[in-house]
Amino acid sequence: MPSGKTDSIQLLQGTLDLIVLRTLATMGPRHAYQIATRLQQISDRLLNLNQGTLYPALVRLEQYGWINGTWGQTENSREAKFYAITKSGEKALHVETMRWRKMADLVERLLTEEPH
């Protein structure tokens, strides 16, 4: 549904989890602020979300046992909760990635198929 007015997009259900998992898998343990910053960077500001909206995803993933949060210190000696991906989180990331690819592939094919 193109709104025209802005370039920002709405996040699909479940994709936020995938993005968070992927971020933690590639970059190692990160705190919520870093994850949010990273999200904004890679989305090139396409994804415009309040940083607080990240929290439900974090608690969900933690409850699934896919990530694990521990308190630590930043370079500036501020305390922060660092999240790290777990073994089962990596497995889940793999499964979710495959599923996403399949889904994306399917949608792509549907969209590129020319009507005859």
């Binding site: 705190h31 919520a32 602020y33 309040n50 940083q51 607080g52 909206t53 929290y55 439900p56 608690v59 969900r60 933690e62 409850q63 699934y64 046992g65 896919w66 930043t74 500036n76 501020r78 305390e79 922060a80 909760k81 089962s88 889940a92």
Partner: protein, 899 residues
């Protein structure tokens, strides 16, 4: 897997909620700090950086709420809130809550108590393997219901019946058990070897006897768990020990499990404590003894054989054995039949339990109605609150849910309390149950009963709270808000529902009152029935002389003579006698008889109860002589045979003639028994309970046994060697028990006395079932009445509180206080009149259900109806009197000011 994990961590979150909240706050704080640090590095002032951080983060409270929703079980959280709300509501009005809880506890408690009886007696399987395949089989004689077989038939049925996979014969018996501190009488059963395999129960210790051992007449005994526990202290090496029964040594070979009971007797006092081989003697199998239907048989149906088919097969065998009857009993006609064992075991209790259960369900129904009324009244009071909440957007479902939850909390509390009440009642009431209740030992509070009680609580909770909730909600929003304005009688829209509930409550209470009235009248009528003798100041004691030590008439005579002699010399004793059957205690023997002068072709089998007596029996129990004479010491074995008949028999056998001097003999005309001459006519005594019909009776002297069995029997035992010693005392009979015991011990120190009690107690035992029913029904009726009072009071008081302003206005306009009180009383009276009308109508409609329990009372006895209605009216008047006086003393100013 991870979903499950998530569910658990959500669950855990509930119990560590403050910790999680703190952690969340800390994380958000740190996040904001980091954001702020970054903005500061971009050169923004401290305050602006803080604002920018907030902006970038978004709403903190919103993030928190999202976090909460995500981490917790939402429905769980909401339920918890509703619970907290319901608890608050309950705490806010303790009087109301306590009334509701107690009402429900009473209803659920009584229902549970009765259900535990039903569970123990009717629902629990019999203590045998596959009990559904077990039947009793035997012969119907005439119209009798009892299935008995003769000794000879045990063999016939075992060999010829094809519907059964196994079967065995048994007979109950009592033995004198010696070796303990005092000799005692134990109840026992003689079994053929087939019985144990038929029942399919293994002993917990040792073994049971085999057919070979039975045929070889070996003296073996299998003992009960109770005997093993009480007498042998659970000695694991008991097998092989000896036990002395009737002064003969038996060898114990096994112990049966605790639950095993056979035969299934009504009442626990007669429970068999040991089982010995039947080992029928040649005399017992002889043609002379062929007329004794005192044996029973139990059988296991073959797979796939139905009860009717088995009955048919049994009758086939019965007809066959009837053709081979010896001459002495050839005139007797029998019909073979089977009864499922379970049906037999519970037949005495079934209708009683059904009635009881109906009664408690009615009480529970009243309790529920009461609670519904109370909840309705409250819901109406809270209608304005509901309306406001609905206007603010609350969902109807949520409000109903809340009200049901509140009802459930109350009813479950009531249920738990009810279980406690039931357990307490069972503990205290179990020994009050009449002896006629079977399987009394399997009655207990168990998981089934407790589940039943909780389900009951759940159901009543939902039922009681749903209706009021819907009623309160089914009102137009605007109307309610308006109606909440002070003027008017408020709950007009539900006055109908309220009144209906109370009217039905009154109707049901009236029904229970009439039933209990009918029961009480029956009981009263029963007590008024003349027993035909004077039971006061009479002491009785049962005994059985063992045949080894008393092998002949002479030795029994010696005992009888010595007993009478010793006892009549005791101070305080008026008269002493011995009999084979006590009156009014349901233990009489009956036989057919042949009247002299009646042609054999016209003879038909009619039974008359008989007893032999010794000593001054008639004076001892106080049976008045109508004509002729009592027996005297001159009526001996050597003198002409004499009998005494009761008035009924005299009238029945010799109508319009003087019975004295007439002759008859026992048995049918073909029996060559000697004639006996009637020398006296005595009053009719009740053979069993007072509410049972009388019977023809005759008495013979103990020393003239040939009346009964025709044999002269010199040197052998032909006269009865067991019976009851009866004493009429000048002192209270309880004080004579010791004298009786020591007198008997001085004659035979090893002889056991059984059921030493006053005649009044013996009669009370027989009459216990009616007394029990009456007391129980009266208690239920009383409970129903109490609940009805609460209901009437609640509704009248409520309507008064709604009409406070109306009353104040009436009084301001000059109404007298008395007329205000009358107004309120009329409200109560209208409901009561209507309820009584319906109740009386209902009683008439349902009267046929209780007819079989009544004695000499018509179910439509107007006295009972008038009484019940009057009681109800009076009670209702009392219940509305309090609100009426309160209404009459209404303060004028206060209600008017709030208009």
């Amino acid at each position: 897997m991870s979903h499950l994990r998530r569910f658990f961590s959500k669950l855990v979150t509930h119990f560590r909620n403050t910790h999680v909240e703190d952690e969340l706050k800390r994380e958000i704080d740190s996040h904001l700090t980091l954001l702020e640090d970054d903005f500061r590095q971009q050169g923004i002032s401290r305050d602006e950086a803080r604002l920018a951080a907030r902006r970038a983060y978004g709403g903190v409270e919103r993030a928190k709420q999202l976090h909460r929703n995500e981490r917790s079980l939402l429905w769980f959280e909401q339920t918890r809130q509703s619970f907290r709300y319901a608890f608050r509501q309950i705490r806010k009005s303790p009087g109301f809550s306590i009334t509701v809880v107690l009402t429900l506890a009473l209803g659920i408690g009584t229902t549970t108590a009765i259900f535990s009886l039903i569970d123990g007696i009717l629902l629990r399987p019999l203590p045998f393997s596959h009990p559904d395949h077990l039947v009793l089989l035997g012969d119907h004689l005439g119209s009798g219901l009892d299935l008995g077989v003769t000794a000879q038939e045990i063999g016939t049925y075992s060999n010829a019946a094809s519907a059964f996979s196994s079967l065995g014969g048994y007979a109950t018996s009592t033995y004198e058990l010696s070796g303990g501190a005092t000799p005692e009488v134990v109840h026992a059963a003689r079994l053929t070897a087939g019985v144990f395999p038929t029942l399919g129960v293994q002993p917990i210790l040792g073994r049971v006897f085999t057919k070979q051992e039975e045929d070889a007449h070996q003296s073996l005994a299998v003992i009960s768990y109770v005997l093993w526990t009480n007498r042998y202290h659970r000695d694991p090496h008991i097998a092989g020990d000896s036990i002395e029964l009737n002064r003969k040594v038996y060898s114990i070979i096994g112990v049966m499990p605790r639950r095993f009971e056979f035969p299934l007797q009504t009442g626990h006092l007669d429970q068999a404590q040991l089982w010995v081989p039947m080992s029928l003697t040649p005399e017992q199998l002889s043609d002379e003894a062929a007329g004794n239907w005192g044996y029973h048989m139990v059988a296991r149906l073959k797979d796939g054989v139905s009860v009717p088919a088995a009955a048919q097969d049994t009758d086939r065998v019965a007809q066959q054995s009837m053709r081979n009857f010896p001459a002495g009993i050839s005139a007797i006609h029998i019909r073979g039949d089977v009864t499922p064992l379970r049906e037999y075991a519970v037949r005495n209790a079934q209708s009683l339990l059904r009635t009881l259960f109906m009664a408690v369900l009615i009480v529970l129904l009243i309790a529920c109605m009461n609670v519904a009324v109370l909840l309705l009244v409250r819901a109406i009071r809270r209608r304005r609150e509901y309306a406001v909440r609905l206007a603010l957007g609350a969902r109807t479902g949520a409000i109903i849910c809340e009200s049901v939850l509140e009802g459930l909390l109350l009813s479950l509390t009531g249920g738990l309390l009810g279980i406690a009440i039931a357990a307490l009642a069972m503990r205290t009431a179990l020994h009050l149950l009449p002896e006629s209740i079977p399987r009394i030992d399997s009655i207990s509070m168990n998981a089934t009963v407790i589940t039943f009680a909780l389900l009951l609580a759940l159901a009543t909770g939902i039922l009681c709270s749903l209706a009021p909730a819907f009623a309160a909600l089914r009102t137009n929003l605007l109307e309610s808000l308006k109606e909440g304005s002070p003027i008017g009688t408020g709950g007009k829209s539900h006055a109908w529902l309220r009144s209906t509930l109370v009217v039905s409550e009154i109707a049901i209470a009236v029904m229970l009152l009439t039933v209990s009235g009918a029961f009480l009248r029956s009981y009263q009528k029963m007590l008024a029935v003349d027993l035909g003798f004077q039971p006061e100041h009479v002491l009785v004691a049962g005994y059985r002389l063992p045949s080894m030590q008393y092998p002949a008439n002479s030795s029994v005579d010696a005992f009888n003579l010595a007993a009478i002699d010793r006892l009549s010399n005791e101070p305080g004793i008026v008269a002493v006698g011995i009999t084979t059957a006590l009156p009014a205690s349901a233990g009489s023997a009956a036989s057919g008889y042949t009247i002299e002068g009646v042609p054999a072709a016209k003879w038909k089998l009619q039974f008359a109860n008989f007893a032999t007596t010794y000593g001054d029996y008639f004076r001892a129990v106080g049976i008045p002589l109508i004509e002729g004479r009592y027996f005297t010491a001159d009526d001996r074995s050597s003198t002409p045979l004499v009998v005494i008949v009761n008035e009924s028999m005299a009238r029945h056998c010799w109508p319009g003639q003087l019975a004295i001097g007439k002759r008859f003999h026992a048995g049918n005309p073909r029996r060559p028994y000697p004639w006996a001459t009637v020398v006296g006519i005595v009053a009719d005594t009740k053979p069993g309970s007072r509410d049972k019909p009388g019977a023809d009776q005759w008495y013979a002297p103990t020393e003239q046994p040939s009346i009964l069995n025709g044999s002269e029997g010199s040197g052998t035992l032909t006269q009865p060697s067991s019976g009851y010693i009866t004493l009429r005392t000048a002192l209270p009979p309880e004080q004579m028990i010791q004298a009786l015991r020591s007198a008997v011990a001085s004659i035979d120190p090893m002889l056991a006395l059984d059921q030493v009690q006053t005649m009044d107690d013996a009669i009370a035992n027989v009459e216990a079932p009616r007394r029990f029913n009456t007391v129980l029904i009266a208690v239920f009726a009383f409970g129903a009445l109490a609940l009805a009072i609460t209901g009437i009071y609640a509704v009248v008081a409520f309507s008064v509180s709604l009409r406070t302003q109306e009353i104040a206005i009436r009084m301001a306009l000059g109404a007298q206080r008395a007329s205000i009180a009358r107004l309120v009383l009329i409200t109560g009276a209208k409901m009561t009149a209507l309820g009584c009308g319906f109740g009386a109508l209902g009683s008439v409609l349902f009267s046929r259900f209780i007819r079989s329990f009544l004695f000499d009372v018509s179910t439509t006895d107007p006295l009972i109806y008038i009484g019940s209605v009057l009681v109800m009216m009076l009670i209702a008047l009392l219940a509305s009197a309090l609100p009426a006086t309160r209404a009459a003393s209404t303060d004028l100013i206060e209600p008017l000011r709030s208009i």
